[in-house]
Each structure stands twice: as structure tokens, then as C-alpha cells.
């Protein structure tokens, strides 16, 4: 079984040659390696690789993909079956549209602009609050407010799209 993984943004090919618990795998062009892998608890894997013991925690990420924690280090991993692989992710990026994302989970306490408004660079757009701390989200550059999904009083997640500016 082959998978393409995107680990903290970097693509890696992994091939599982034999399954757990006595697992043989190949990472990219590296030689095959052996590991003992057991499920200790649901979502918690105990891995022995070259005799070293790793306690690995896996969770579904809120936005899809997996979050893997290992000794305090944090990996965000997207796994794709190569057959399902497509380059649609690359289609995003160089857009001229500026997204205003919530920097933290919280509540929208003020929306300072309306759709269609022109804004200048650094202008406050939305105020998000959590845990007694207010955060003013500002326009990164001048433009016109295209969309505004943020509503006062609404609860938002970290990274949630609140507005777009052209």
C-alpha cells in the first residue's frame, strides 16, 4: 500500500510493505525499515523503531487530515491515496483576494465594516474576543470588502474565514 503524505506542508511518499504489528515500510527512496507498532489506546500508538520507543498520539484535524503528536512535537499530516491525488490544492494561492481569518477560537464582538466598503491598509475590520482578550483584525492592504460572513455575537473557530477583501 502506497500513500502520499503532506507532513507540515512537505510531501512524502510512504509504502507499507507489511502491516502492523510487525511493520515494514519504505519512506520515499530510503531503504525499507522495520518497526513494531501497537495500538496502546484508541488514537495512541506505541512504536518501536530501531529499539527506540515512541508514544504517538493521533487525532483527526478539525479541517481534515490528521494531527500527530510525538514527544511535544506537532505534525499536521494530510494523507492521500495516490490514485485520488489531484493538484487542485495548487489552484489556490496566488489569488488577489485577501482572506481575513479568525486567529483564535472566540466570539465576534464587533464588525466594523460592511460588504462593499473600501478599506485602507491597517484598518480594523472585525474584533474577536476570547478569554477576556480582544483581538482587532486589520486589513493587510487597501481594497474593497468582498464578503463578510462574520456576525456580531457569533462563535468562531480558529482559522475560520470571516471576510474577504479584494
Amino acid at each position: 500500500m502506497k500513500l502520499t503524505l503532506e507532513i507540515n506542508g512537505r510531501a512524502e511518499e510512504i509504502e507499507i510493505l507489511s502491516g502492523a504489528p510487525e511493520c515494514r515500510f519504505k519512506l520515499g527512496a530510503e531503504p525499507a525499515r522495520d518497526a513494531l507498532v501497537e495500538i496502546a489506546e484508541p488514537g495512541v500508538y506505541s512504536v518501536l523503531l530501531d529499539g527506540r520507543s515512541y508514544d504517538v498520539y493521533v487525532e483527526d484535524a478539525p479541517g481534515g487530515g490528521l494531527v500527530v503528536d510525538l514527544n511535544g512535537h506537532h505534525f499536521e499530516i494530510q494523507a492521500r491515496d495516490p490514485r485520488a491525488w489531484s493538484r487542485n490544492a495548487a489552484g489556490q494561492g496566488g489569488s488577489a483576494v485577501q482572506s481575513v481569518l479568525s486567529p483564535m477560537p472566540g466570539k465576534i464582538v464587533r464588525v466594523l465594516v460592511a460588504a462593499g466598503d473600501d478599506v485602507v491598509k491597517g484598518q480594523a475590520i472585525i474584533v474577536v474576543e476570547a478569554m477576556k482578550m480582544q483581538n482587532e483584525l486589520k486589513a493587510a492592504r487597501a481594497g474593497k470588502v468582498l464578503s463578510l460572513t462574520a456576525k456580531e455575537g457569533a462563535t468562531v473557530a480558529a482559522g475560520e474565514l470571516l471576510a474577504t477583501i479584494e
Binding site: M1, L3, L5, I7, N8, E12, I14, I16, S18, G19, A20, P21, C23, F25, L27, R33, A35, V37, E38, I39, A40, E41, P42, G43, Y45, V47, L49, R52, Y54, V56, Y57, V58, E59, D60, L66, V67, V68, D69, L70, N71, G72, H73, H74, F75, I77, A79, P103, M104, P105, G106, K107, E129, A130, M131, K132, M133, N135, T155, A158
Partner: protein, 498 residues
């Protein structure tokens, strides 16, 4: 002794107070707001009273509802914890009026120490050193005279001020006039008063505080100091007892302790309290303010002195005498505390409330954990981000730090973000290890604040596990009663990987 005590607080401090009350055989009444219905302090209490919706102003700050709950449940006393109503003299007074004992100092002492300027005067009158300053409005000439006497840099502050508005740092005589103009006009705009006064600016100060404890019979002792210089956004994140500076400076603990006692006694203080000092780079200390309540970081003092401050608070409030003298206070070893916040240390320490999906707590020798959360609980966005206080004790500061690093490695929280990894970075810094601390330390040393790079082998292991987990399907994430050793075999999922 009291039969039942209401705890007018939430989170870890409510839990911590309840633990001692339970050990004393005293009944506990929790209060809670809507989002805290299933909070740990409610689950652990003997009884619980609803006091309103999420916003503190409509629940935990509602004196009327809290006192009503205390009466309804028959509580003899109220422990206010820290924050919320703990330093509110009106609340203490309302308790007294309702015939309920307020576990803390007298109303008069809270008033005397509650205002920073009044406290400064009390401390000065008691002979405690304060940061040199005019504390009265000053003009260009007065400012120049002050700067000549005390040297640069100085700090201009709005008399009516607060929140940093109307403040200006002045480094040399040439900048004096323009700085005063700027400060005055900013103050005018912000507070409708252009009055500005001046203080000597303490550069790279340490924040060191002294725990005091007095009974209602005139006895007072100090329990030594805590070093609280490691701060982010003016909030403490790591505290220690003893302070590495004080420990290394003969006579300093006793001198600061006596200064703290004098200041507190001048205000007619009793019960537990903390006198905060700024310490300059020549180890001179200056009275900053007094906190008239239990301090967040009290566990480090408890670990080193062996006393239970909450028990003593309760006993003193019930009229008991201090059970020991100053000579009987003994300090053993070293304690460090990390405040575990729901926040993202690598994104400006922004708060990060939400569902705790995983929680693994450190344990073993020398660990003390005061927490108020559990797996499956949603950390509400309405309150402080403090999840837990992880404190450790060691025979020396060096051993305590090593132990803290070990404990941090055992501590795992998922679903939300925390500053656990950031503590590991600070504690491994040579400058921290050397005890060279000041309140700007985090800004200075961790200006960039990036998560550490993982070893290359970790990425290999993460990739392997991600691949196996993906192949096994999401059902693997659902807890099952299958024995761990046969989890693969029973699920039959291993086969799919071949």
C-alpha cells in the same frame, strides 16, 4: 470551625480550596455560571448553586447572588479565591453584613491596599522602600530636578492614568521637554487631565513578592519570597520559591520579609497576603503593591515551607492564632510552577479555548498538579485561560528544573493549544538556568517564539503512524473495549495494509 464554606470562584482555584476544605471536614458549596455547569469545581463540590449566565459581570461578580446562595445553602463563610470578588472591599463588607465570614483580610485593610497610590503611601509611611517618584503632578522644572537627582531613564505617567496611556520613557535630558508635552497631551486626550508625574524607571526589573500571614490577634510572619519575573503580557507564567537572587543574597529574605510585614501591619492586615516588589539590577527592592488575597502561585511557597496556606486562611478567619512563629518557618529545597494556559505561544499567546480531546497528567516524585479541567470538557471562552498549575519540588533549583522538564514531557493536552512546549524551551535556556531573570525576559529571549524543530526521525515515525492510522480507517479512533495487545488482530485491520 465553619460547618460549610461557599467558594466564590471557579476553575483550578475553586478545586484547590475545596480540597483543603474537604480535608478539614468542612462542607463545600460551589457557584457556577451557565457554561460552567459541568466544570470540575461543580462536579467536585458537595453542593452547587447557579449564579447566572456566562459573562462574569452577570454571575461570578454578582455579589447579591453569591451572598444569597451562601445564605440559602447555610454556608458560614465564603472563600473568594483570587480574581473576581477577592479584592473587592464592598463584597467583604456585604458578607459581614450578611453574617457570613469573608475568608480574607478586613474590609479596611482591603481598602487601604486596594488603591495603588494609597498602598504606596501606606508602605512609605511604614518605611518600606518604594520606587522613587513624585506621585504628584510635575512640570518641566520639577521633572528636570527629579531626573538630575535620580538619573535617567525616568518614566512619565498620567496621574489619572492606567493602561499605559500617557506614559513615556525618557532616556536623556534633551528629550525631556518633548516627552512631557507628548505625555501631557496624550493624558489630556485619554483622561481629560494633562497632569503627569514622574518615576524612576527600573530597567530589567525582577518581580519578587513576599508571602505574609497574620492572625486577628496581632501576630504576623512572612513565608519568604517568590520569584515571578517570567511574564508574558504582564502576566506571570513561571514562578519560583526561593528566588535565585534572594537565595544568593545574604540577609535579603529577612529584610524583604520584614519590610513586607511592616507595610501589611501598617494597614492593620490579617490573613494571607502578598507584598509585591520590583527589584533593580543592583538588588534594591521597591514596594510595588499588595495583593490582599491568596496568590495564584501560592503552591511554590507551600511546597518549600510545608504549610497549607488555604487551611491557615480558613483557621485564621475562624479566629485561630497562627500556629507557628517566624523562627519556626523553615524553607526546604526549591519549587517551580508553570501556569498552563489555553493559548498559542507561537501565535502571540492568543487564547485558545475549546474541547479537551486528550489529557494526560504528569505524576511521580515531586509533582504537584492543581488543575480544574478534564478530558471531554469544553474550556469556555468567557474566562481566564489558566487550565492548570504544574508545580514541582526538588532539593535544589537545578533539580527542580530538571524535574519540571520531565513533568512537562509527561503532560499532554490536545484539542486546544497550550504553552506546555514553550515552557520546555524557557527551562532549557542557559540564562534561565543561571537565574538571570527580569520581567522582559520572554520578550527579549523568545522574541521570535518558534516551535522547536523536531528531530528528523520523529517525522519518520509520524509518517508511519499516519499511514497506518489512515489505512486502518477512522473507526480506530473510537475507544473500544478490545484488549490493547490484540487491538490489531481483533480489528483485522492490519490485513488491509498488505
Amino acid at each position: 470551625m465553619f460547618r460549610k464554606v461557599l467558594i466564590a470562584n471557579r476553575g483550578e482555584i475553586a478545586v484547590r480550596v475545596m480540597r483543603t476544605l474537604r480535608e478539614m471536614g468542612i462542607g463545600t458549596v460551589a457557584v457556577y455560571s451557565d457554561p460552567d455547569r459541568t466544570a470540575l469545581h461543580v462536579r467536585m463540590a458537595d453542593e452547587a448553586a447557579h449564579v447566572g449566565p456566562g459573562p462574569s459581570s452577570e454571575s461570578y461578580l454578582r455579589m447579591d447572588r453569591i451572598i444569597e446562595a451562601a445564605k440559602r445553602f447555610g454556608a458560614d463563610a465564603i472563600h473568594p479565591g483570587y480574581g473576581f470578588l477577592s479584592e473587592n472591599a464592598d463584597f467583604a463588607e456585604a458578607c459581614e453584613d450578611a453574617g457570613i465570614v469573608f475568608i480574607g483580610p478586613s474590609v479596611a485593610a482591603i481598602r487601604a491596599m486596594g488603591s495603588k497610590t494609597a498602598a504606596r503611601k501606606t508602605a512609605m509611611a511604614a518605611g518600606a522602600p518604594v520606587v522613587p517618584g513624585t506621585a504628584e503632578p510635575v512640570g518641566v522644572e520639577g521633572l528636570r530636578a527629579f531626573a538630575r537627582e535620580h538619573g535617567f531613564p525616568v518614566l512619565l505617567k498620567a496621574v489619572a492614568g492606567g493602561g499605559g496611556k500617557g506614559m513615556r520613557r525618557v532616556d536623556c535630558e534633551a528629550d525631556l521637554e518633548s516627552a512631557l508635552r507628548d505625555a501631557a497631551s496624550e493624558a489630556e486626550r485619554a483622561f481629560s487631565s494633562a497632569e503627569v508625574y514622574v518615576e524612576k524607571l527600573i530597567e530589567r526589573p525582577r518581580h519578587i513578592e513576599v508571602q505574609i500571614l497574620g492572625d486577628r490577634h496581632g501576630n504576623m510572619v512572612h513565608l519568604g519570597e517568590r520569584e515571578c519575573s517570567i511574564q508574558r503580557r504582564h502576566q506571570k507564567v513561571i514562578e519560583e520559591c526561593p528566588s535565585p537572587l534572594v537565595e544568593a543574597t545574604p540577609g535579603m529574605r529577612e529584610a524583604m520579609g520584614q519590610a513586607a510585614i511592616r507595610a501589611a501591619q501598617a494597614a492593620g492586615y490579617y490573613n494571607a497576603g502578598t507584598v509585591e516588589f520590583l527589584v533593580d539590577q543592583d538588588s534594591r527592592y521597591y514596594f510595588l503593591e499588595m495583593n490582599t488575597r491568596l496568590q495564584v502561585e501560592h503552591p511554590v511557597t507551600e511546597l518549600v515551607t510545608g504549610v497549607d496556606l488555604v487551611r491557615l486562611q480558613v483557621e485564621i478567619a475562624a479566629g485561630a492564632r497562627l500556629p507557628f512563629t517566624q523562627e519556626q518557618v523553615a524553607w526546604r529545597g526549591s519549587a517551580v510552577e508553570c501556569r498552563v494556559y489555553a493559548e498559542d505561544p507561537y501565535n502571540d499567546f492568543l487564547p485558545y479555548p475549546g474541547l479537551i480531546t486528550r489529557l494526560r497528567r504528569p505524576s511521580g516524585p515531586g509533582i504537584r498538579l492543581d488543575d480544574g479541567v478534564y478530558r471531554g470538557w469544553v474550556v469556555p471562552m468567557e474566562y481566564d485561560p489558566l487550565l492548570a498549575k504544574l508545580a514541582v519540588w526538588g532539593e535544589t533549583r537545578e533539580l527542580a528544573i530538571e524535574r519540571m522538564l520531565r513533568a512537562l514531557g509527561e503532560f499532554d493536552v490536545a484539542g486546544i493549544r497550550t504553552n506546555l512546549g514553550f515552557f520546555r524551551q524557557i527551562l532549557e535556556e542557559p540564562q534561565f538556568r543561571a537565574g538571570k531573570l527580569h520581567t522582559g525576559y520572554i520578550e527579549e529571549v523568545f522574541g521570535k517564539r518558534c516551535a522547536p524543530e523536531p528531530p528528523a526521525e520523529y517525522a519518520v515515525v509520524a509518517a508511519l503512524v499516519a499511514a497506518l492510522h489512515t489505512a486502518a480507517g477512522k473507526s480506530a479512533a473510537v475507544p473500544t473495549a478490545a484488549p490493547a495487545a490484540s487491538a490489531w488482530r481483533e480489528s483485522g485491520r492490519s490485513e488491509r495494509l498488505r
